[in-house]
Symmetry: C2
Subunit: 340 residues, 2 copies
């Protein structure tokens, strides 16, 4: 029911995803039965693979998370997340209110580690693929343990979402030398370097490595990640604007100029919120689709959800997470010269 368009975008997207996903994949649609049934009836292929679960109420896009929690029970969003907890669904996908979805998911599914909130992932375009970048805003204060958890979760997500067998992982810092940065990143670096995890850890990376694609997964705290993401979006928007000015300021509305604008638009589209951002760190799969998602975006999100649900994602995270307490204990907090 969520997002800017509701069932008129979601139901056709479900029909499209059903055509692409294996036969055994089915959907539970939570929301207003009358509205949903009307939409589903227009897609004969959906018959038998879609079950409508009526919900009396819907969480508003501008409700505060605390309010959404208080009156959440019985809403379509609540029921979708609860279906994951009950084992009825392998994943929940929503284009609804992000804060409410995070709060409900945390309450209903609980966190696998002692994270404050689920970590949010961005997919940043690079010349030869995408960088998985986390946390982009959920966990503002992060100690070394938190950063190591992000590395574990981001690596498993990148493999499941992009099919790369062994994604490389870097830790965002202000330089590549071991003694650079604040104590939290230096400790996380020591823990990851010590090699207790099944991870291709490459050490520190810097801000420009995010778009270079130097590593597949770039890990940082939610404060730095949010600022970096928005700063990058700002530059993309600024360049688009400058270019538009340059291209409309004279006699130059040529085919080449239009092509240049196309290239920029493509970049900005790729910089936009990815179709599906998982909430990482929950006992169960929840994916957030951005509110303005098109049918194609939503279908793509459903495909990613399917890939994640069929992957070893959760087991891989679990396996590395169980090694974390020993790894933290083994790594002395401040070795003599800061070197691993």
């Amino acid at each position: 029911m969520g997002g800017d368009h509701g069932p008129s975008v979601v139901v056709p997207a479900v029909a499209q995803a059903l055509a692409e996903l294996p036969e055994h994949v089915c959907f539970l649609l939570h929301g207003d039965e009358a509205q949903l049934a009307g939409q589903v009836a227009q897609h004969p292929g959906a018959a038998g693979r879609v079950t409508i679960r009526h919900a009396e109420r819907v969480i508003g896009m501008d409700e505060k998370p605390a309010q959404a929690l208080r009156r959440g029970k019985g809403t379509s969003m609540w029921n979708a997340v609860e279906a994951v907890r009950e084992g009825e669904a392998a994943a929940a996908v929503s284009a609804g209110n992000t804060g409410a979805l995070m709060a409900m998911s945390r309450l209903i599914l609980r966190m696998i580690a002692d994270l404050d909130r689920p970590a949010l992932v961005a997919q940043i375009p690079t010349p030869n693929g995408v960088t998985t970048f986390l946390d982009i805003g959920a966990n503002v204060d992060c100690d070394a343990e938190r950063l190591v958890e992000f590395a574990i979760m981001g690596e498993a997500y990148h493999r499941a979402a992009h099919g790369k067998p062994r994604p490389s992982v870097g830790l965002l810092n202000v330089g590549s030398e071991e003694m650079k940065g604040h104590e939290e990143v230096r400790e996380a670096n020591r823990v990851l370097r010590a090699g207790a995890f099944d991870l291709d850890y490459r050490g520190f990376v810097e801000g420009d490595d995010i778009t270079k694609g130097s590593v597949d997964v770039v890990v940082t705290d939610g404060f730095t990640g949010n600022v970096a993401l928005k700063s990058m979006e700002g530059v993309a928007r600024f360049i688009t604007g400058e270019l538009r000015t340059a291209l409309t300021s004279g006699t130059m509305a040529t085919a080449g100029a239009l092509l240049a604008r196309g290239a920029l638009r493509k970049f900005r589209d790729r910089m936009n919120p990815p179709p599906a951002a998982p909430l990482l760190g929950l006992h169960g799969l929840v994916l957030k689709v951005h509110g303005g998602a098109s049918g194609r975006d939503f279908a793509q999100a459903l495909r990613v959800a399917g890939d994640l649900a069929q992957s070893d994602f959760a087991a891989e995270i679990e396996r590395n997470m169980t090694r974390l307490p020993a790894a933290l204990a083994d790594t002395s907090p401040e070795p003599a010269d800061g070197a691993a």
Copy 2:
């Protein structure tokens, strides 16, 4: 003597700056007398306004700061900074080794507050001017007091460098609400909001406000600032590369496409290290010019140094700094609802 080109760029730049600066402005040139004299002789206009101060040695561009300090005395860089302490020069300008210049400046001139290291400033292009952005990497760990000091120094710098009577100041955060962010930014926000300083403080801003130009001065810690700056540079480089590919991949090398490339190049030039970055927080003016600076860049840096030296920059910083201890004491660390 510093930078990639040494006296062959610096001396012509001095001659150019002399032609633009008031008659009473003179230069001390520190370095190898023979080399410098040969260059100066080629600029008749420089006679009488340039004094060569011979130095036996020069700091190498790749010397470590600690090494540069040990063997620094008597080098051209050391002498230039010392001339500021002795009151012989109003400002020191160098294109030499940044780490060495910072370490020497801190040792010789001392910090005005209990900053670890001088703060570094970037000038980020916006649709209608530039944003002064600091700290971009010198002070990795920043408490609230440090952030308030950056606000004071950045505001005075923006006024002196850009002639704007009352620059607006924002504090970088992950949202604009008072309760957002970690404790350091929330406390700095309370202190700045309380109004003890002569500052146009506008509250929290987000990453994309840097290139929007929402405020004139954006303040953050050196970790976040360095990551944000490099992330932004990475996006500019990525877009340039994508565009180049798009423009050379077909039949589209048109005038419009070339124009688009020109607009991008202009942006990248503006994103590059500004000609003159002041080391903020010292008892005395020191400006760093980037190593690859052209003669025009260097002349521009000398003009900025002149503007700063003739402004009330230092007195304005001093005036606000003396209000800081009381402002910190007045602002309770944790008010009931986090609101000012």
